[in-house]
Symmetry: C3
Subunit: 137 residues, 3 copies
C-alpha cells in the first residue's frame, strides 16, 4: 500500500497551455505503483488543469481563442484590483479543473493515445505554480 | 489504512456561493489521516462544487454575474416544469463540478493560500444539500 | 484492500448523451467493495463524462442545445482537418469532465436520487469509447 506525494513547482511563463505529461509520467514511474490512481491538484485559483489533444498545436490556439471570447478580459468586473486579467482567470479556472485524475495500470498512466495533461496559465505574467501529485494503490 | 466517510447536510439558503472550507478541514482533522486524499461529492444536479478565491467577496459576485449571463434564466428551455431556474441550474452544474478532490499532507488539506471550497446553490429557493466526504490514506 | 480496474468499450452511436449508470453499478457490485471510491476515466478528448438528471429527457435536449449554442460548429477554427465537429468536441470536453468520481457506501454508489452518469459523445459519427473504471477501498 503506497501513498506517495510530490510537489512540483512549475514556471508557466505567462498565459499558455503547457504540456506536463512527461513530468507526471516520470513521477508515476518513481512511485513504483503498478495499479492505482494518480491525482493532480493545482494550488491556485487563476490557473487550471485540463486533459486535451497532444498532437495538433492548433487545438491549443483554438482553446485559448474560445476562452478569450467567452470570458473576455475587456468586460467589466467588480474584482479589478489585481488587474484586468485576474477575474477572467478565476472564471476560466472554474470552467475547467483544479484537479485531474488518471488511473495507473501496469505502472503507467492509462491516458489515451491523443491525451496530454496541461497546466493552463490564465494570467498574463510569469507565475510559479505549485502542483501536488498524489499517487495511491 | 483508513476509509472514512461522512455525510454533511447543508442548508444553502437559496442562490449563493457558500464557503465550506472550515467544515471540511474539521472532518479531515477528525479522520486522523496524515497523508491521503479527501473527495467531496454532492448528491445533486442543480448545485455544484468549486474551489475558488477565499479573500475578495467581489470574486463571488463576478462569478455569479458571469453564470447569469452565460446561462440565462430568461432563455427558453424544454425542461420547464420545475420553474425557470431549474434547467439553468442543471447547465451551471455541468459547467462546474459535482466532486472536488484535495490531497491531505501532514494531516491538512493542501489548499493554496487563496483557495476555498464552495457549494454553489443554483436554485432560487432554500435547499438542503447532501455532501459526501470520503477520506482515504 | 482492493484496487480493482476494468475497461469498458462503449459504442456511442454518434452525438448523444448516454446513461451508463447501470453498467457502472454492476461493476461496483462485482468489485465487492463496501466503502470506497469509484473513479471513471474516459480515454478521449472529444467525448466527456457528466453526472446529470436521470428523469426528464428534456434536460438532455436542453444540455445539447446549450452546448451547440455556446460552442458552435459553424464558427471558424484553426484545427479543422478532422472536420467541423472536431474542435467544438475538444472545447465541449474541456468545459465538462474527462473523469468522474463517486464514493461507494455499503456496496453502492452514493448517487443522489436524480443523478445519472452519462457519456457525452460530441462527434457526429459513431465511435467506440474506452472508459477505465477504477475502484479502491
Amino acid at each position: 500500500m503506497t501513498n506517495y506525494q510530490k510537489l512540483l513547482r512549475i514556471n508557466t511563463n505567462g498565459k499558455s497551455l503547457r504540456n506536463i505529461t512527461s513530468e507526471i509520467a516520470a513521477i508515476v514511474a518513481d512511485s513504483k505503483v503498478d495499479t492505482g490512481l494518480c491525482t493532480l491538484f493545482l494550488r491556485h485559483t487563476s490557473a487550471s488543469l485540463i486533459i486535451q489533444e497532444n498532437a495538433d498545436p492548433d487545438v491549443l490556439k483554438d482553446l485559448a481563442d474560445f476562452m478569450a471570447k467567452i470570458v473576455p478580459e475587456s468586460a467589466s468586473y467588480f474584482h479589478y484590483t489585481e488587474g484586468p486579467d485576474d477575474m477572467p482567470a478565476h472564471i476560466r479556472t472554474v470552467l475547467t479543473h483544479t484537479s485531474e485524475h488518471i488511473p495507473i495500470n501496469r505502472g503507467q498512466l492509462v491516458l489515451g493515445t491523443w491525451q496530454g495533461i496541461y497546466i493552463w496559465e490564465h494570467r498574463q505574467q510569469n507565475h510559479y505554480r505549485e502542483l501536488v501529485i498524489h499517487i495511491s494503490d
